[in-house]
Every structure is written in C-alpha cells, then in structure tokens.
Symmetry: C2
Subunit: 219 residues, 2 copies
Amino acid sequence: MTAGATGADTRTKLLEGALRTLAEHGIAKTSARSVAASAGVNQALVFYHFGSVDELLAAACRYGAEQRVARHRDRLADVTTLAELLRCGRELHEEERAGGHVAFLAQVLAGAQTQPRLAPATAAGLDLWTAEIEQVLVRILADSPLGEFTDPAGLARAVTGAFVGLEMYEGVDPGGAERAFEALEQLAALAGVLDELGPVARRAVRHRLRRTEKVQGGA
Amino acid sequence: MTAGATGADTRTKLLEGALRTLAEHGIAKTSARSVAASAGVNQALVFYHFGSVDELLAAACRYGAEQRVARHRDRLADVTTLAELLRCGRELHEEERAGGHVAFLAQVLAGAQTQPRLAPATAAGLDLWTAEIEQVLVRILADSPLGEFTDPAGLARAVTGAFVGLEMYEGVDPGGAERAFEALEQLAALAGVLDELGPVARRAVRHRLRRTEKVQGGA
DNA sequence: GAGGGGGTTGAGCGACTGCTCAACCCCCTC
DNA sequence: GAGGGGGTTGAGCAGTCGCTCAACCCCCTC
C-alpha cells in the first residue's frame, strides 16, 4: 500500500510471484497482470523493475534455480554412491513436486525453445543443477573402475535432462515416475557389482570399449 | 480456396499446421489464428472441426506422436543392444531436431502440466514412444544377466522422459547433448561387460541387490 | 428447378495482452 | 518550505485472443 519499502522486496515479491504463476498456471497464462496479482502488486511495476515480462521470467528462472540448488546442496554433498544419488533424486522429486518447485523450470524451458531471450537464463538455471551433479559424479566415480571410462560433465547433463524430462512426464501421467526410479535404482546396483569385481572388471571394460569404438568407427 | 474437398484434408492441414506452429513458435504463440495461417485455412475452421483450440492441440499431439513413432518403428525393430538403442536415439535426436519434429511434444508436454484437458493426449503420445522402447528393452534384456533384475516398463518410461528432457535442454544450450550421448554410450558399453561375464556376474548382481534392499529397508 | 446439408468465409464481440504515461506519495537534501 | 528522485498507481492504447454467427458455395437428392 504505502511506498515506504526499499523497493528491493517488491522485486523479490515479483520474482516469487512469477515462480508461483509459472508453476500453477503455466507459461501460456503467465502475464504481467497475473504475476502482479500473485505478488499482490501493481502490474506496472513489472515494467518498472524488469523492463519487460521476458526479462522478469529470465530473472525468475535464475532466482528459482539458485534457491532450489542452494536448498539441496548440503544433501547432495553427502552423496558418494550412484544408488545414493538416485535415492536423493527420488526424494527431491517427491518433495518438490507438491510445491511445484521444479515445474517452473520446465515451463521456462518450454518457452525458451522458441524465445531466444529466455534461453540463456534457462540454460544458466539448468547448468546450476548440472554443475552440482557433476561434482557428485566425480566423487562417485573417483574410486570406481567406471571412473576412467566416463565423462562426468556429459553424464551430469544427461542426468539433469533426464530428471526434468521425468518430472514433466510425471506431470501428465502421475505414478510412472516411481516405477522409473525403481528401475533405475536396480540398474545402479549393477554398477556397484563392477566396483566389487575390481581389476577383473576394469580389464573387461577396457576390452569391451575397444570393440565398441571399432564398430562405431566402421559404421 | 474452393470447397470441393472432402473436408478430411482440411483436418490434416490443421493438424500439421498445429505441429508446425508448436515447433516453430511454441505453445504460448499457438492460437487458432496462427495455426490456421500456417495451414493456409480460415481460422473459424479450427472450431468447426475441433470445437476448441485445446482439442486441436490434443488431436495434433496424438497425430504427431503416431506419425513419428511409425516413421522410426522399423529402425527400432532392428535394435538388440543397449549400445544400438543409444545410437538409434542419437540419430533420432540429430534427424528430428532440424525439423522440430520432437519439439512439438515438448511444447504440449509443458502446456499439459497446467491444462488438464491436454494431459491425457500428451500422456498417450509419450506412451506410444514408451511402449515401443519397452519392446526394445525386453529384447535387449532377454539374454542378458541384467534381465532378471530390471523392470522394462519402468526403464522405458525413464528412457522416454530422459530423451524428451535432453531434447529440451539441447534447445536452450546447444551442443551439450552430444557429450551426454557419448557419456551414456560409454556407460552402455559397461552393460555389455556384464553380458560377457555371464554366470559370475549374475551371482554377484544377486548378492549386491540383496545388500541394497537391506540398506533401503533399514532407512 | 427446389431443397438441404457439409464445408467455408469474413466480420465482429468481449476479454485479455504488453506496455506507456501522467499523476501521486514518501523521504531525503538543501 | 522548496525541490528532487525512487517507488507506486490507475487509466488507457493498440493489438491479439477464443469463439460465434450469418451468409455463402458446392454437390447431392428429389
């Protein structure tokens, strides 16, 4: 009502209103007026503080990703096993889905496909997760025979993409994500087997990889 | 121009116009007028043939998924290895991305998160892919020691979700999907190792799984 | 030739969009 | 007390939205 505030909290109100609107109503119905209403603020302030709706969404994307990553960083820091990483992802899935805290990323991600101005911010938001996951993967692969044959950065990107994709799939067909996570956890257990086999596996893997590369090179 | 046509091809014109508009301009800018313009048809026909924009999008989602799955079914039928499946996915990624033929699914998927009327059609479209992938997985796992420990249906859903997620990630940050696919292909090679180890691996996997279940049950 | 129905058309309604703007409030500095 | 600037407000413009509708064209049946 009054104008006594610093104005910085109006910015955050708008950012959080944008995240809420994105998650609840989707990017198609996210407008200056709907975000402002969710933030309890006049719609003209969107343009005063951010210049345009696109810039607000880009800022909200970064803001939301930073918040979420920071919130889960501690838990990810404890992960040292592939199985633990999957359990962590599953918990994250269940916790955040209720609050729609991951949904906003999916919405902006869809919008960014055809809106060049949103793409950099969305990529930055996803990269925040990818970087965090890469650190975990490096730790996991450090004392595993798999370590020398995999690229943690590429794998981290695959994990981030897979998580967002699964999250969206779950949104339109609830219940399937649980089975997917269970299947992936069973697969993760197999990786543990290689750890136990040790040098034998290491030699077998090396042999197998050479064959694979030959086949790929010949095609 | 003239009205001599059966009217059925106006329907398909609209469906393909919808797919084109979704892929090129995103769901936020997909309207009756924009789709009709892309189809070279009057905008009122959207409501005559489909009743509403939502219904057109739902129909287009099903139509597009069926077309794409049918187009790649033959190639998937030849896949008998995890490595081959990944190579196939990579080829599909590179071929379709140029034509935006997968992008429409991602767009409708995002819209369906908050638009209940779109969800069933989107889920059906994704399930078409998932069912196809599940068949491949069953074939792959048939004579592998992994077969008895994994759930093909859950895994298929994970694969579909991961593919769509990666596709969208690539859309906002091009170039990373290649590294992701390479990393996954290296991982797939490891699965082949287990095949070669045969009964030894089978026993080790069984042992490992029992331990994993115990840990999960205790937590 | 009269009638009818599937398919098509352009105009138009009310609602909503991004964005602008003059006016205003509050607080700080002179 | 005068002035100024950051922050806020409601009204308003031009454009697009989903959707409706009366009119129309073509072909088929009597």
